[in-house]
Symmetry: C2
Subunit: 338 residues, 2 copies
Amino acid sequence: MRGEFELIAALRERVAAAGAPQRSPGLVLASGDDAAITARPGVTVTTVDALVEGVHFRVPPFGLASVGHKALAAALSDLAAMGAEPGEAYVQLGIPAGLEDERLLELADGIGGLAAEHAVAIAGGDVTAAPALFVAITAVGHAADQGALVRRSGAAPGDVLAVTGELGGAAAGLLVLEHPDLEAGIDARTRAGLLGRQLEPQPRLAAGRALAGAGAGAMIDLSDGLGADAGHLARASAVRLRVDLESLPVAAGVAEVARFGGCDPLDLVTSGGEDYELLAAVPRDGFAATRKAVAATGLRLSAVGEAEDGSGVLLTGPDGAVRPPRGFDQRRSRDDQP
Amino acid sequence: MRGEFELIAALRERVAAAGAPQRSPGLVLASGDDAAITARPGVTVTTVDALVEGVHFRVPPFGLASVGHKALAAALSDLAAMGAEPGEAYVQLGIPAGLEDERLLELADGIGGLAAEHAVAIAGGDVTAAPALFVAITAVGHAADQGALVRRSGAAPGDVLAVTGELGGAAAGLLVLEHPDLEAGIDARTRAGLLGRQLEPQPRLAAGRALAGAGAGAMIDLSDGLGADAGHLARASAVRLRVDLESLPVAAGVAEVARFGGCDPLDLVTSGGEDYELLAAVPRDGFAATRKAVAATGLRLSAVGEAEDGSGVLLTGPDGAVRPPRGFDQRRSRDDQP
């Protein structure tokens, strides 16, 4: 076991070796003092998010690099949901006694790799002993002004409800991960895709900025699951959100995994959570342009319903039947600001 | 057990009831969205700090309110050491299954009470299940410009080394706390004072700003202990720091507790840590004015040594004998930015 300061130095080195930038545009003073100093015009967006061993992941089947990647991704996803540009992140690690430093450095690989992809500077952090591994991230983003950001509260009746990418992959990936014998009749590539959605999700930062720039009225990231997160958005905007279940974009392999796992694929899609796609309310007359702006970032934007007068979320089937959102993930959620 | 959202609402309510401001000058959007939005001119100072049950505290003898207070105090102390004005804090809670929500609300009382004292807005947070209680704080401060802040790196040979307040109280308080039968021959008030230093330390925010304003060249807060923290400052400034042990301001009752506890009072003073006083290097010709500025905040500033050419820390006794810093607190420190 290295000493504390050697460990911190080794972690910093691995984060840098993975390609994370040493500086973000506003970062004046990073690691090594009592605090980091940033100076940047405009407005600042701040969010915190923690992953805890035994609650959000187990090692194995998770590797430490995936834990680091996913913790940072979950926090950056909140910035994506505001339409912010990511800037800096701070990492607090709780380290159990049995965890070897070499394995811990793999966690830095995962954090550094994702930080590199999105040009996020790791500007500070903290290590402490802990009974179980935890990774608590503070992610800070920036925007020119408040008007460039999208809150949960701006959906209006008549807006198109839209979702980026595809849903259900993370939940299906978790089933595959926890049941390696589950031969879902899917090919190796589809299987790897599902595992990737669970282990190393991608925060939709570029799509979030595209949605914000194109005039989305309200936005949230799908961490708890479509049903729950649509509920947050509906409540904040004081509208009802009607979701057309048949129009939901379902990730490849989800139907097969659900069948072999003995569950309803719609539960994985609407209640599985952790897809980290974006759900947005978009004014109807701007929807085509918004879809085009999102497509330019490499993601599909699907219309999946609409906002209307009322409250709550209605999940409606092909015959117009209403389906209540069901719980799939019983973990305490971690994306709400108390 | 309340549901997650009810719990978050109850925590927010208790933080507010304790007097924490709903808004800080720059806070545009607080809790309840994907992230908080702040807008404030000048530079931003950010630090993270976590307290973990079984590592930094045990319950009992700690009460939950003290845990909340101390976690926030430790993070704000880093802002004090920069000379920053505190602005916002974000709170991540890891909650063990056995902990009743009513007790958890006491933690919010402690956070809210200290936040009220220093006009810090609790701008966001996160709750999650965890195997042991942890409180991970992100503290954000502000300053007009970089020049208003003090780093660890600006000490120069000839500077007076100075410390605010009194030392050793937190370590002596820990001994009293863990040995309630320890009859150190101190009166109830002194005993309560020592316990307060351990359980509910005060971040020296006003003194930090006074030191920064009066021209301190380098500064650090005493979380790890004078010996270790002076080492950080010496390394960052590339100077040697000579500490005159006889000049150290010792908290009332420390000598008595050390005698009854069978340890050297100087170990409590130099290696005990958690006093959260400030150690600063002050140009000699500005020292009298600096002391006066700190006195105006209600704290004594003591000259305890000087910076000179060289490296490392020298603790020197009355006969000029050199004493190596000794370890007292074996916990992994939590105030260094990896």
